[in-house]
Symmetry: C2
Subunit: 221 residues, 2 copies
């Protein structure tokens, strides 16, 4: 899919871009021709991942990546999510921050949703980043499928949550650069928790059916 | 789809069977040839709804319906859910109880998930019904689509949650009697909350896209 007008001249930064979800998303954005800055605690590791991804990808520290991106994806582990965002709040002022973090716990029965003081990771981000426009998205997309360009189209919708129409529209456009993926507006941030937590269900599905499950929303014209 | 062996000689009861979701489900089960007892606070109202539905449907009080069903669907409003189940606990002993209740609040911004002491409606049911096998299912299916037999197939999957494989398998078989619907195992009851709450997102989707949205799980073979 050609890049939409809204994404022209936009740089995407991916905090935690060396983790599975972050690397998979970075790979897809770079492959679509979008300048993509991979952020990591270690700038060196970020640069190595960027070199693997090739054209359109560069690596930097999370802080430098945050400053460089027009759209900044947060793909860090839940543990440390709040601390990192607090640290980068000034770099992220005025930007569209896309939180795709799933606060999950794991035990011998599999995954389960963690209780989050603010309601959800996305709402935590919104409360820590009053100068940014926070959108929730990319929660349920399999990192395995994202990370393998040979596997396309990726058969999934992405629920996009947020308060500001212009920002959720932009993130829906960003979803569409990944072949097969469709961004669907999924409500306000107060309804982000269940989308984050649904990843625990998809992990159960994957176990039972040996799949890399995603979801599609039906009956949209 | 022909009725599976597992459902032969089984009666389904639907508590709250005169409400939109309950009536829609009852209509589909009766249309598939399953003896269906519609329960309501008012036996008279239940009988009227049963008469509308025609063959295979009968009406009764919730207590009589609970006693009559081998599989008992709970489709009552969230408000009163706990009280009703407490009342019917002895009638429900030994049965598969399928909770499809979504604890939601509504305001001018639309729907949002309510916080539930036990975690979810399904977990509340399990805690009030220690002698029953509780399964969560049918949370996200549009009542409008269910209630209109002319609209088929119904393009949606149903996430089925529970602890007991035999019971979740049975409920997946029950899903399959509705044309187009597929039951997908979606994890344990501790992961029911987000499936219930996801209905709030689908309500946002319906508003934005003027749809009767459902979900499909992708990548299952």
């Amino acid at each position: 899919m050609p890049i939409s007008e809204s994404l022209k001249n936009k740089t995407v930064a991916v905090l935690g871009g060396t983790g599975p979800q972050g690397r998979g998303l970075s790979r897809r954005f770079a492959a679509a021709g979008i300048p993509t800055v991979i952020g990591s605690r270690s700038a060196e590791r970020a640069s190595r991942t960027a070199a693997e991804l090739g054209e359109n990808a560069t690596g930097a520290s999370n802080a430098v990546a945050a400053a460089a991106g027009d759209i900044v994806i947060v793909a860090v582990p839940w543990d440390g999510h709040g601390d990192l965002l607090k640290e980068l709040a000034s770099e992220l002022v005025g930007k569209v921050v896309v939180d795709c973090v799933n606060p999950l716990g794991f035990d011998r029965h599999g995954a389960y949703a963690l209780r989050v003081e603010e309601g959800s990771a996305a709402q935590q981000a919104a409360s820590l980043l009053p100068g940014s426009i926070v959108v929730g998205a990319f929660h349920n997309v399999s990192a395995v499928l994202l990370d393998d360009l040979a596997l396309e189209p990726v058969d999934t919708d992405v629920l996009v949550l947020g308060e500001v129409r212009e920002a959720t529209d932009l993130v829906q456009d960003l979803c569409a650069v990944i072949p097969g993926v469709r961004g669907v507006f999924g409500g306000r941030l107060r309804n982000a928790h269940q989308v984050e937590a649904l990843t625990a269900n998809l992990i159960s599905v994957n176990r039972r059916y040996r799949a890399h499950a995603g979801i599609r929303v039906t009956d949209l014209s």
